[in-house]
Symmetry: C2
Subunit: 220 residues, 2 copies
């Protein structure tokens, strides 16, 4: 396995301002840090961007079909672009031009595939659940055949990818004589306290693994 | 101004699972809650999804051209889809099928336009800065002609839009006899303490308005 993804014009578009990387490790780091991604399809020549949750098995990215399933049935072998972005903070500079954000973003290109086989789909959904909540799958009420049919799982093998990261103070330190506050307003996505379902029996407490997740600073 | 956006097939795709709304107020509420959006373009028939910050003046949405400017110069009059999504929490159910997330999402369709006129662009950038940090624009070192040229601002008038929101406990309360923890793990995006730029003179303290933003629970 190579460390770096190949590039064509579409992924080079993104490297322009020099924060880009085609390193596999950089791309994986972003994809693994946040489960929310936006998948772009082309429908009748026009773009359609839908939010979803993704998970990853090496170079294969899976995502949840969710809504829009009528058209997702036609998505097989369609080119897709999956982008995952995390805002880490606002960067306030002395000039409007140097205002920015600190962020991490990965943009991944490939061809959408749909899992048709029931066993494969069940295995992918197990991977999905376990990627968020290790050990949870076996504690759940098993999936029914009907539920499995009602769920779409798509995947692609990464053909090209770029990661971009900005993690720095404002870039106009040489203008420090401008009398305005400059710096970073950091943003963090964190868990609040767990909210048990209304009908949850009082005897069932939050599993230790979930309690650890809430305190971990990670999203999965 | 009508309260509801018109619908065609593309936005109906999204209403399928009944959490959708075409109400202007619902769409605005999501767009205004988070500045991060993902804009989809079609380039050579394939999708390209890029993260950006957006701001809004009534039905007109602006976004920052950022990278990819070579191709953005060709984006004029291209159909775009701008999607803005906020994860509010993981929803853990008794069955894998009923796992979900609480979220708010808006999907907006229109034709991309590029601001060419310098004065218009400067005015849009003022609106951008002020939408985040009211009062800040006038305290900044003024923009130079060169900076203005180096910045792209795009906009579209919303032609169609949908908002989707899920904000509920797990949907399988009738399966409360399955002995597994169920409920919500809420997610919040919050500010951490401001980090002054390294070279910021010690005499310049954080403006009150920024301090209030940090404590407000809002992102702008």
């Amino acid at each position: 396995m190579k460390d770096e993804y190949p590039t064509t014009e579409r992924s080079r578009l993104r490297r322009k301002h020099d924060r880009g990387s085609h390193q596999r490790a950089d791309v994986f780091a972003v994809l693994d840090a946040s489960p929310l991604s936006h998948v772009g399809y082309t429908i009748n020549g026009a773009p359609y961007v839908t939010p979803t949750l993704h998970w990853r098995d090496n170079d294969r990215i899976y995502w949840h079909g969710s809504a829009a399933s009528r058209f997702l049935r036609k998505a097989e072998d369609m080119p897709v672009c999956l982008t995952c972005s995390i805002m880490d903070g606002y960067v306030l500079a002395r000039s409007a031009f140097n205002h920015s954000i600190n962020y991490r973003s990965a943009m991944v290109f490939g061809m959408a595939q749909i899992i048709e086989d029931s066993d494969e789909k069940a295995e992918a959904l197990r991977g999905f659940t376990e990627s968020f909540f290790p050990g949870r799958w076996n504690s759940l009420r098993p999936m029914t055949e009907q539920e499995l049919k009602a769920t779409s799982v798509l995947w692609m093998d990464i053909e090209e990818a770029t990661a971009k990261v900005r993690n720095a103070p404002p870039g106009d330190g040489e203008e420090a004589d401008v009398p305005v506050w400059a710096g970073i307003l950091p943003l963090r996505t964190v868990f609040a306290d767990a909210e048990p379902a209304p009908e949850l029996p009082g005897t069932i407490v939050l599993p230790e693994a979930l309690g650890e997740l809430l305190c971990s600073g990670r999203l999965r």
